[in-house]
C-alpha cells in the first residue's frame, strides 16, 4: 500500500508541476471567459441602435403603438413626412435621424397584407435579429387591427393567441414540470459530457504514461521493486488525482468567472441569451431559459454532488486500467491505435445513450445503460437529475464496482506481460491470451 502511495505521489507531483498542466488548467476557463466576453461584445457591437421611421399613408395604423425593442436595438417612430423625402435623406448617414424607413402604402389592404406589401428602405443594413423583430411587430399590428375590425377586444385577442400546453407533473416527484425536465436535461447532459471527455482525456494520459515507462525501459527497474499491479494502481490513482484537481480548479475558476468576471464587464447569462437571434424566436424564449436556470435549484443537487464523483471515479477506474493495458501492449512507436477500438466504442455508445436519456429518462435503453458498468458512468450521470430510483442507483454502483474490479484484474494481467514485451506487434487475440498467461 505504501509503495502505491509513493507511486501516486510521483505521478501526481510530476504531472501537476508540468507547464502543460498549468496552461490547460488556467487557459480553459480563461478561453471560456474570453469566448463569453467576446461574443457578448460582438453582440453588443453588432446590435447597435436602429431608429426606424414608419410612414403610414394608409392611415390605418394611426392608433397603433409599435413597441420598441427591449434590448434597445430597434426604436419605432411614426412620422408624417413623405416616404420619398425621408428615404432621400437616408443616404446622408451622418445627419439622417433614421437608419430605415418603412412605407405603408395608401391602398394597403388589412385583409390581404401581401398585396400591396409594406416596403422598407435602409442605408445601414439591419441585422437578421432586427429584421425579424420589425417583421414580428408589423405582423402583430396587422393582426390587432384585424381583430379590432372584427370587434374582438384586446383581452379576447390575447386569450386567443395563447398556446395550449399539457402541464405534466410526475406522480413520483411533485416538483417535476416542463421547465424542471428541461433543466434536468441540460444539467444531465453537461454531467454526461464531463465524464465522457474526462474518460478520454485522462485515460489517454494514463496510456501515454505507461507507454513512456515501457519505451524508456524504466519499467524493468520499477517492477524489480514493486508489483506490476501496484505500479498500475499507483498510476491510475495518481492521474485520477490530477484529473480531480484539475476539475475542482475548473469549477472554482468558472464560478469565479460567472460570479465576478462576467458581471464586472456587464454580462450575465440572461444577456448572453438575448444576444442570440434564435433565442428571440420560437425555439427558446429568454423567459423559459430563465425558468430553466431557476429550476436548477429544484434538482436533487445534494444527491448529484455525492453521486457524480462516485460515477466519475468508478468510470475512471474502470476505463483507466483498460487504457493502461492498451498502453502496455502498444509497440514502442505507439502505432497500434487499433487496440484502442474496444475501449473507445463503449464510451461513444454510452454518450449516444445519454443523449437519448435526457429526452426519455425512463426508457428501457436508459435503464439498461445505467446498469451496465461500461456505460453507466456516462448514462447514469445524465440520468441523475431525473431522480432515478434508489434501488436502480445502488444496483448500478454495485455493478460498477464489480465492473472495475473485473477490468482492473484483466488489465493488470495484460499489463504485466505487455510492459516487458518488446519489438513485437500485438494483436487483440494475443491480449486475450495474456489474460491467462502465467507471470
Amino acid at each position: 500500500m505504501n509503495k502505491i502511495f509513493i507511486i501516486v505521489q510521483r505521478e501526481y507531483i510530476t504531472r501537476v508541476r508540468k507547464k502543460s498542466f498549468l496552461i490547460t488548467t488556467l487557459l480553459t476557463p480563461l478561453g471560456f471567459f474570453l469566448l463569453m466576453a467576446s461574443s457578448a461584445m460582438i453582440g453588443n457591437y453588432s446590435q447597435g441602435k436602429a431608429d426606424v421611421a414608419i410612414v403610414d399613408d394608409s392611415g390605418l395604423f394611426k392608433d397603433v403603438v409599435f413597441p420598441d425593442a427591449e434590448d434597445q436595438s430597434v426604436y419605432f417612430h411614426k412620422v408624417g413626412d413623405k416616404f420619398e423625402h425621408l428615404s432621400g435623406k437616408l443616404s446622408d448617414k451622418e445627419h439622417s435621424a433614421y437608419q430605415a424607413v418603412i412605407h405603408i402604402p395608401a391602398n394597403f389592404n388589412i385583409n390581404n397584407p401581401t398585396n400591396p406589401m409594406m416596403s422598407g428602405v435602409y442605408m445601414v443594413r439591419p441585422g437578421v435579429a432586427k429584421r425579424q423583430y420589425i417583421n414580428e411587430r408589423m405582423s402583430d399590428a396587422v393582426s390587432k387591427l384585424r381583430m379590432k375590425m372584427l370587434h374582438i377586444d384586446e383581452e379576447t385577442q390575447e386569450n386567443m393567441q395563447k398556446k395550449v400546453e399539457v402541464n405534466f407533473t410526475s406522480l413520483s416527484n411533485d416538483k417535476e414540470n416542463k421547465q424542471y425536465a428541461e433543466a434536468a436535461g441540460v444539467v444531465g447532459i453537461i454531467m454526461g459530457i464531463a465524464i465522457y471527455i474526462s474518460l478520454f482525456f485522462y485515460g489517454t494520459m494514463i496510456m501515454k504514461g505507461v507507454m513512456e515507462e515501457k519505451t524508456n525501459r524504466i519499467v524493468e527497474v520499477l517492477t524489480s521493486s514493486v508489483k506490476p499491479f501496484q505500479l498500475l494502481m499507483g498510476k491510475i490513482i495518481g492521474v485520477g488525482a490530477v484529473g480531480l484537481t484539475q476539475c475542482i480548479l475548473w469549477v472554482l475558476l468558472m464560478a469565479l468567472i460567472f460570479m465576478v468576471g462576467l458581471p464586472l464587464i456587464g454580462i450575465s447569462a440572461g444577456s448572453q441569451a438575448s444576444h442570440m437571434p434564435q433565442m428571440k424566436g420560437a425555439d427558446i424564449d429568454p423567459d423559459s431559459f430563465a425558468a430553466v436556470i431557476a429550476n436548477i435549484s429544484q434538482l436533487p443537487l445534494f444527491e448529484m454532488a455525492i453521486l457524480f464523483p462516485v460515477y466519475f471515479l468508478g468510470g475512471f477506474l474502470l476505463y483507466g486500467s483498460l487504457f493502461a493495458a492498451v498502453g502496455a501492449a502498444m509497440g514502442e512507436d505507439g502505432d497500434q491505435q487499433s487496440l484502442m477500438v474496444p475501449i473507445t466504442i463503449p464510451i461513444i455508445i454510452s454518450f449516444g445513450i445519454a443523449l437519448n436519456v435526457i429526452n426519455n429518462p425512463d426508457s428501457p435503453l436508459g435503464f439498461w445503460g445505467s446498469l451496465i458498468p461500461f456505460t453507466s458512468p456516462v448514462v447514469m450521470s445524465s440520468m441523475l437529475p431525473f431522480r432515478p430510483a434508489w434501488w436502480q442507483i445502488m444496483l448500478s454502483i454495485a455493478l460498477l464496482i464489480g465492473g472495475f474490479i473485473f477490468t482492473t484484474y484483466i488489465a493488470a494481467r495484460i499489463y504485466r506481460v505487455g510492459i516487458l514485451m518488446y519489438g513485437k506487434k500485438i494483436r487483440l487475440k494475443e491480449l486475450g491470451m495474456w489474460i491467462f498467461a502465467k507471470a
Partner: protein, 298 residues
C-alpha cells in the same frame, strides 16, 4: 553459504523454454558471472531472481529462505536496457527509486548525498535527466542500483556505453562492494571482463546450464596441455618431431602435448639439449575460448 540458490528452475514461454531445469548456487560475497549467448535465457533467469517473473516450477532461495517479495529490498538490479524518467530531476528520481526499495525519504536522501559526493556529481542533483549524456545517465543508474545498500547486486552489461574512466570507476566499486561481502551477479558478453572481475561463472545456452565453476578451476578443467617456451639459441632439427607444434617463431615456441605427458618433459627436452629457457608457461584457455567452444559443442 550460498546467498542465492536456484533449484530446477523451469520457465516456459508460448513456443520455447527459456529456462530448462536450471540449478546453481551463488556463494555469498562472490562476483558471479552469468554468461550465455543472446537469447540464451539469462534475462529470464534474472527476472525470476528479481521477482519480475515467476518460475513455472523449481525453487529459488535467498539466504536460505524461499525467495519472496520481501527480498526485493535486498536486491539491486541494473538491467541492460535501462531508462530513467526524462522529466524528473536526478536527486528526486534517485530518492523515488530508493523509497520504492523500502527506504524512508530521509534515508534515501542521505544515501543519494553520499553517492553523488563519491562520484563527484553533486552539481547534477537538480539537473533534469534529459539533460544528461548517456554516460552520465549510466552513473545515475548505477547509483540507483546500489542506493539501498543491497545484499545482492545484479548488473546486466554494466559497462556498456561507459568511457574507460567511468568503467574503471564502476569496476572499482564492484570490487569494493564485493570486499564488503556483497554478492554480485555480473552478466556480460565481454569475456575479458569476466576473467578480470568474476570469481565464478555459470554458462547458459538455450535455457540450459552447460557449465559452472570458478574461473580458475574452469580454465584448468579445459586446458589442452599447451605450453609456451621462450629460449635463447636454436632448436636442432628433429628435437620437436614428437610434439605438436602450434606456433614457432625465433626464440619462442608453443606446443601441445598429449594429456599423458607432463610439462616437465618438455622442459627437460630443452635443458638436455643445452638450450637456455627464459620463459616456460602453461597456456590456459581464455574464458572466451571456453565459451565459444562450449556453445558450439552444445
Amino acid at each position: 553459504m550460498a546467498l542465492l540458490a536456484l533449484q530446477n528452475i523451469v520457465k516456459q514461454y508460448e513456443k520455447y523454454r527459456a529456462s530448462d531445469d536450471v540449478s546453481f548456487k551463488i556463494p555469498k560475497g562472490k562476483i558471479f558471472g552469468l554468461l550465455g549467448p543472446n537469447g540464451a535465457g539469462k534475462t529470464t533467469l534474472i527476472r525470476m531472481i528479481t521477482r519480475i517473473l515467476y518460475p513455472d516450477s523449481g525453487h529459488i532461495f535467498f539466504n536460505g529462505e524461499a525467495l519472496s517479495d520481501k527480498h526485493t529490498e535486498y536486491i539491486g538490479y541494473m538491467p541492460e536496457e535501462r531508462g530513467l524518467y526524462k522529466k524528473m530531476r536526478v536527486g528526486e528520481h534517485l530518492i523515488y527509486l530508493g523509497r520504492l526499495k523500502g527506504m524512508t525519504h530521509q534515508q534515501a536522501r542521505e544515501s543519494v548525498d553520499f553517492w553523488i559526493k563519491k562520484f563527484e556529481i553533486e552539481n547534477w542533483y537538480n539537473k533534469n535527466i534529459e539533460e544528461l549524456s548517456k554516460g552520465m545517465s549510466q552513473k545515475v543508474q548505477f547509483i540507483a542500483t546500489v542506493l539501498h545498500n543491497p545484499e545482492l547486486l545484479i548488473l546486466d552489461e554494466p559497462f556498456s556505453g561507459l568511457d574507460p574512466l567511468n568503467s574503471k570507476l564502476i569496476e572499482e566499486e564492484i570490487h569494493r562492494m564485493s570486499g564488503e561481502g556483497k554478492t554480485i551477479i555480473f552478466s556480460t558478453h565481454r569475456m575479458e571482463q569476466v576473467e578480470e572481475i568474476c570469481d565464478e561463472i555459470v554458462l547458459i545456452n538455450k535455457g540450459k546450464k552447460i557449465l559452472e565453476g570458478s574461473v580458475k578451476e574452469l580454465k584448468h578443467r579445459f586446458k589442452e596441455n599447451k605450453f609456451r617456451v621462450c629460449f635463447n639459441g636454436e632448436i636442432k632439427n628433429g628435437l620437436l618431431d614428437n610434439v605438436n607444434v602450434l606456433e614457432q617463431r625465433p626464440g619462442e615456441v608453443v606446443v601441445k602435448f598429449n594429456v599423458e605427458h607432463h610439462g616437465n618433459e618438455l622442459l627437460k627436452l630443452f635443458i638436455d639439449n643445452n638450450i637456455e629457457v627464459t620463459l616456460f608457461s602453461e597456456e590456459l584457455p581464455s574464458i572466451n575460448e571456453i565459451f565459444i567452444r562450449q556453445v558450439q559443442a552444445n
